[in-house]
Amino acid sequence: VANKSIDIFGASTDLPTGTMSSDPREVTLADNTANRFEICRLYAYIRASGTPAVGDLVNFYLIQHDNGSPAHLSDGASGVTSTIVPVPRNAVYLGSSWVGPSPSSTMYVSFECLLYQPGHKWSILVDPDFVAWSAHSYIRYVGINREIQ
């Protein structure tokens, strides 16, 4: 009997960003020890407080946690929502979104990517060039597990 493998999607889950600014910021860890998602699809929406400049970037990095004691976290991250200013930055770079032509005070940038085997616990480091507006920004993910039918 042939059995198809399909993706089972978890619910879209918010990673609280706390009070954002133009400082690089880590968000609280996603604990993957129970769900054991093999893949996560990340969805981010970052809006500026005010009007950003053309060409401003929002950079995204992956923070990885080994669940050890003491724990390893990329770039010495804390694992909870906070400002993080590691230099140089060695967390895995996920990508950037940019502010296009004719920006306005209501514009935002979106960003999506896949995370394969994110591991026990993971998080996102978001680094905007502009002052981000917390109330109108989010970082979410949908976990994916494959299932043999």
Partner: protein
Amino acid sequence: VANKILDLFASSAAMDITLASLASSTTGVGRQTALITNSNGEQAVKIFVMLKQGTSPTGGKNAFIHALYGDGDGHVTDGAGSADAALTILNAERLARPMKNKSSPATGEILYQECIIYHPGPEWGIALYQDTETNLDATEANHYIRYAYFSPEIQ
């Protein structure tokens, strides 16, 4: 017992998008397909695009194919909607190398492109724009964006 894994191919299906007379843009002003709900959890989707250029296109120009991703909870790339509509593409992921035309293209020449999305998630779609400095051909039937899912199957 060892079990081989094969790709299980679904039928190719047309996506809902209006491409007739799509205007040229150098700033990402294009068109989106209606979003597809991936209710069967398909793990990969191959995209097939055919466009017919309009009158006297400029050579060395392109069409650009981008992915739209929805989380099923209101987020869609670049603020895209759920239906076939105009869309300004800004940060949507580009899926393939540019769909390039000839250096001296003739009116009505066809362009083809194919690309793949792995684990498209709960919702997905395609957005496209072109910069050939002329509208695409005015007949809708002369263009398409199709997709075919394929997921692994354990034998």
